[in-house]
């Protein structure tokens, strides 16, 4: 049985909604090494031999199972690069919960760079949740650079929920996806930056097969002096449908650059992008003030709702 201290438990709760060791397959990584791992009859987790990371093999037809692979870092000054590969068998239907929490109380930067590769088999259905969280009073930065690659076979579907609400100083997220015929990718990103944080999120989605579809939606809030860049490129190489949307609120001196990109290489590719950046609408604040909320309380409710 693995032992976790209070900070580790708190981070696990933030990034994976875990109060203790999860049920089903899991791999918990703490301060650069695996501290707990379990496979099930259908989901096998194998540590990589030549690199840091794991292979997660999900048998075809596996239904209603989950995999948790949270990472927590509580020591200042750790820098790691981890490769996690997921092989999802045909027709499987599973939930994968990743996430990284960094508590940095020291003066040195802590950095976790996770490269996740998903090989999604025919007809498989995946829900992937990735949450980032940072805490700690130290002057060292909390840095997360996730790279995600998704290879989707025919008629597979993947829903990705990417959440980073608090405490990560610097993040550069790159997500690449290749979709075969009938494959469907849905991405929901929620991001809030504060202080002098910086967050960059790039998407490169290639719709290669007929009837494939992608829907990449980001909702974000940039407070204080923080900076965000949302750069989403959808490429339609066949009869497909793609939609990307960036909906952002700026506050204080926050800055956001949204760069939606569409490339249609087939006459039957239908691609749409939407982007809107602005401060909170004044009438929204006034409406909540007429209900008795202060201006600050009103802003908090509006942002909580926006990022819900």
């Amino acid at each position: 049985m693995i032992q976790l201290d209070e900070i580790q438990k708190r981070l696990l709760k933030e990034v994976a909604d875990l109060h203790s060791v999860p049920e089903g397959a899991y791999n918990i990584r703490s301060n650069g090494q695996a501290v707990g791992r379990a496979s099930t009859a259908n989901i096998e987790i194998i540590p990589k031999e030549n690199a840091s990371g794991i292979d997660v093999k999900i048998k075809p037809g596996t239904k209603n199972e989950s995999v948790h692979i949270p990472v927590v870092m509580t020591q200042s000054g750790i820098k790691e690069l981890v490769y996690n590969d997921f092989y999802i068998g045909e027709g499987a239907d599973v939930v994968i919960v990743a996430g990284c929490g960094i508590d940095n109380c020291g003066p040195k930067d802590s950095e976790h760079d996770g490269i996740h590769r998903f090989y999604v088999g025919k007809g498989a259905k995946i829900k992937y949740v990735e949450k980032h969280y940072g805490s700690g009073e130290g002057t060292g930065k909390r840095i997360l650079n996730p790279g995600t690659e998704v290879y989707m076979e025919e008629n597979s579907s993947m829903e990705m929920e990417m959440v980073q609400i608090k405490g990560v100083d610097d993040t550069e997220r790159t997500t690449k996806a290749e979709l075969a015929a009938g494959a469907s990718l849905v991405v929901r990103e929620r991001l809030m930056t504060h202080g002098d944080q910086r967050a960059i999120s790039k998407y490169d989605v290639q719709m290669n097969g007929e009837g494939s579809s992608a829907d990449v939606v980001s909702r974000s809030v940039a407070k204080n002096d923080s900076y965000q860049k949302f750069d989403a490129v959808l490429t339609g190489n066949a009869a497909c449908s793609g939609h990307t949307e960036c909906d952002a609120i700026i506050m204080d001196n926050g800055r956001i650059l949204a760069v939606p990109g569409l490339e249609a290489n087939d006459v039957d590719a239908a691609l749409v992008h939407e982007a809107a950046i602005g401060k909170i609408a004044g009438d929204q604040i006034i409406k909540l003030m007429t209900l008795g909320l202060t201006e600050e309380e009103a802003e908090e409710q509006i942002i909580n709702g926006f990022l819900k």
């Binding site: 006034i286 007429t290 008795g292 409710q301």
Partner: protein, 248 residues
């Protein structure tokens, strides 16, 4: 009781001072339903915004139960017991109908309580409680939710700015029942409605006519209605129904 004393309000437009409200004095007694009518652009909505605290008068004072509230913020006025239903309901992204009604009530209410308010405005509560208050709702639906928030807030004085606009004829009687219900359930409460609608004017204890920023007439409906019949300040419902349907 709400008292406006010598209220004036102006804006600067093209470097020229434009007076929107000119020296209006008005008292809304407890337990009364007062309807303000008058031509468009006459300053009625501005008066409602001045009462809610969204605008501040350039001169004059506003008193509530004897206390001068002229310099109070929107929040403090709301806490003191002023409710305000927007003419154009505000849309939010992500905030659900339940959230808004819970915030309005100022209490930790359950879904059941929130549903009571929605049912009162003629919405089938379970279909709406988890909906986002955004443009997926029709104008009429948003308007009824707006009224439900003011109902949930249970203020001692509730101000409604053209509550019938965008609401279909079916729910018109319902709307009048909402006002009558509020008078019964909220002790000593008064209601101030801005409306051109004859049926709403007919249920008023007192009618106030505002024209070109001035108080043009004030009195019981028996006194004031004869002055209005046939003008744009008292539109019969069939005329309104012909031009306004829900969602338009």
């Amino acid at each position: 009781m709400l008292e406006l004393k010598n209220i004036s309000f102006g804006v600067t437009e093209d470097n020229a001072e434009k007076e929107i409200i000119r020296d209006i004095s008005l008292t809304i007694p407890d337990r009364k339903m007062v309807v303000i009518t008058g031509p468009n652009g006459g300053g009625k909505s501005t008066l409602a915004r001045l009462i809610a605290g969204i605008e501040k008068p350039s001169s004059g004072r506003i008193f509530m139960d004897g206390e001068d509230i002229t310099d109070m913020s929107v929040t403090d006025r709301a806490k003191k017991g002023i409710g305000y239903a927007f003419q154009q309901p505000v849309k939010f992204k992500g905030i659900q109908v339940f959230d808004l009604i819970r915030l309005a009530s100022g209490k930790k209410i359950g879904v059941g309580d929130a549903c009571t308010y929605l049912s009162a405005v003629g919405l089938c509560a379970r279909d709406y409680i988890n909906r986002e208050v955004n443009s997926s709702l029709s104008g009429g639906e948003l308007k009824r939710i707006e009224i439900a928030t003011v109902l949930a807030k249970a203020s001692s004085i509730s101000v409604f700015d053209e509550p019938e606009a965008g609401i279909d004829l079916w729910s018109f009687q319902n709307l009048i029942e909402v006002f009558e219900g509020m008078r019964k359930t909220i002790k000593d409460s008064s209601i101030l409605i801005i409306s051109h609608q004859e049926r709403i004017l007919n249920i008023a204890d007192e009618i106030v006519v505002i024209k070109a920023g001035r108080l043009a007439a004030q009195g019981t409906k028996e006194e004031v209605m004869p002055l209005l019949t046939g003008t744009d300040s008292a539109v019969p419902e069939c005329k309104m129904g012909a031009v306004q349907r829900e969602g338009e």
